[in-house]
Symmetry: C2
Subunit: 283 residues, 2 copies
């Protein structure tokens, strides 16, 4: 099951070609995206996702996305999706055609099913490896042309890191800076739970601000947790009560093994945080 809505509102068939070969999203990875979880007919954190799409587009010097058009496209996708099953809804916004710089950006919402693998990961937890990202934590501020913290279509190294994890017998990655500072996953944020406080690293070090992480922190605060946004080191992860990867589609996924080493059992903690997170949303 898939559903495709162009930003102009037209419904299209995802099984037929829709994009030209000289689209800069394809030729250069030149564009931005978001992935929104639709559950119970509700697009979670849609405003925050649209904020971040706008922020990413700004970092790439692209025109500001038309917020209302995106809201309409999301609504149209939801309307066409069968009730009772979750949808992973990708919002894709490219610089448009190489051959016609004056043309409109390419923009569409593509809804797909949540993969079996991610559903299993949510339930059972995952093994994760740490991989060097090759940056220092001041680089994002010093060199904005490196687009650190933009959710761009140039995710080649994120995908390569996921393949490296698989080679090492793991299912996901935590990137680290050269000095051992914890950054983020290739497609998720890192959240650490320890002694009643949730921690996540600050976006200023060159990572994506997390929509799911923010939702979880809000929910956890209501449930009596403290939250802190501050730099984390690898050692902080090994000693914590629980370590999690958060993303729209992963929700709050528990890490049970880090670099081959089993972490403390965080199943009860995970159940508590997952329930708090779910309580944030209707449906």
């Amino acid at each position: 099951m898939r559903v495709l809505i162009h930003l102009d509102g037209s419904v299209a068939d995802p099984d037929t070609p829709q994009v030209r070969v000289d689209d800069l999203g394809l030729l250069r990875g030149d564009g931005v995206f978001e992935t929104v979880l639709v559950s119970g007919g509700h697009a979670r954190e849609l405003d925050k996702h649209l904020d971040r799409l706008e922020r990413s587009a700004g970092m790439l010097d692209m025109d500001t996305p038309d917020r209302q058009a995106w809201q309409r496209a999301v609504a149209a996708a939801i309307e066409r999706w069968p009730e009772g099953s979750e949808m992973a809804l990708k919002l894709v916004y490219t610089r448009g055609l190489d051959s016609d710089p004056g043309a409109d950006p390419t923009a569409f919402a593509l809804g797909i099913e949540v993969s079996e693998g991610l559903l299993r990961a949510r339930a059972e937890g995952i093994a994760v490896v740490t991989l060097e990202r090759g940056i220092d934590t001041e680089l994002a501020e010093r060199a904005p042309w490196l687009l650190l913290g933009a959710k761009s279509l140039s995710y080649g190294i994120n995908m390569a890191a996921m393949r490296e994890a698989e080679r090492r017998g793991a299912e996901d990655v935590i990137f680290t800076a050269g000095d051992g500072t914890v950054l983020e996953g290739p497609i998720a944020n890192v959240v650490v739970a320890d002694a009643g406080t949730l921690y996540t690293p600050p976006p200023s070090i060159g990572i994506l601000p997390g929509t799911t992480q923010a939702g979880l922190f809000r929910a956890a605060e209501r449930a009596g947790w403290s939250t802190k946004i501050e730099p984390l080191r690898l050692e902080d992860l090994r000693d914590a009560d629980g370590v999690f990867l958060t993303s729209s589609i992963r929700k709050v996924t528990r890490i049970h093994t880090l670099d081959g080493e089993q972490l403390p059992d965080s199943r009860a903690l995970h159940a508590e945080l997952a329930a708090a997170y779910e309580s944030e949303y209707p449906g």
Copy 2:
């Protein structure tokens, strides 16, 4: 004028959609490419480009490209291109569809005209700025998942660097490592001429091996130059007889201004090297 040949040999219309929205080349910048200059009906350095396509595909764990099919596609594109004008021929090879991991890669050859801007740059030279690339020179070896030196479709930061150059009143970029080591341009290699020797940095520091640079070095050696592949520092550029960016479409483009500072007049040197380079190719 544009010509589009899919790898299966079929001729297609580049003005109509040819690619599905869930192509991983589009959604993730997950694929590789080459750009070949066709001049006088001859595809320059085609073997070297296909070698490098294969090398990039290997770095991304993709199936080895079908060399003969690519050769046929290139020949078909040349056959359809009007004689007497150069063609920039892009070979694009993506991981294929997200929805069907077993499906064939997406693969096509797209021929376009060489832009006015690049023709002018070849003739008149360019102003270039240096920008930090945020890596150290050992990173490529240490962290292959960062795909340094692969010609991948994830060129978002290369494009962002070109926009940064424009903001600074320049036309191109030389990336540097954190320690001031010269790396490469976003879509070109750096060549320095000094006292009868041509220099370029080694690919092992995390840059693309240059096909045009290699052709130029071969030609220059025949014309009596020495050539050296060794690390360069920014100071080496400022003091040299001439500094050039080389790429298939740029050929040997002279840098007249570096970070706002005018370099020594290298017009005669450029004419000499450009002529040597042209003599390598028939037509």
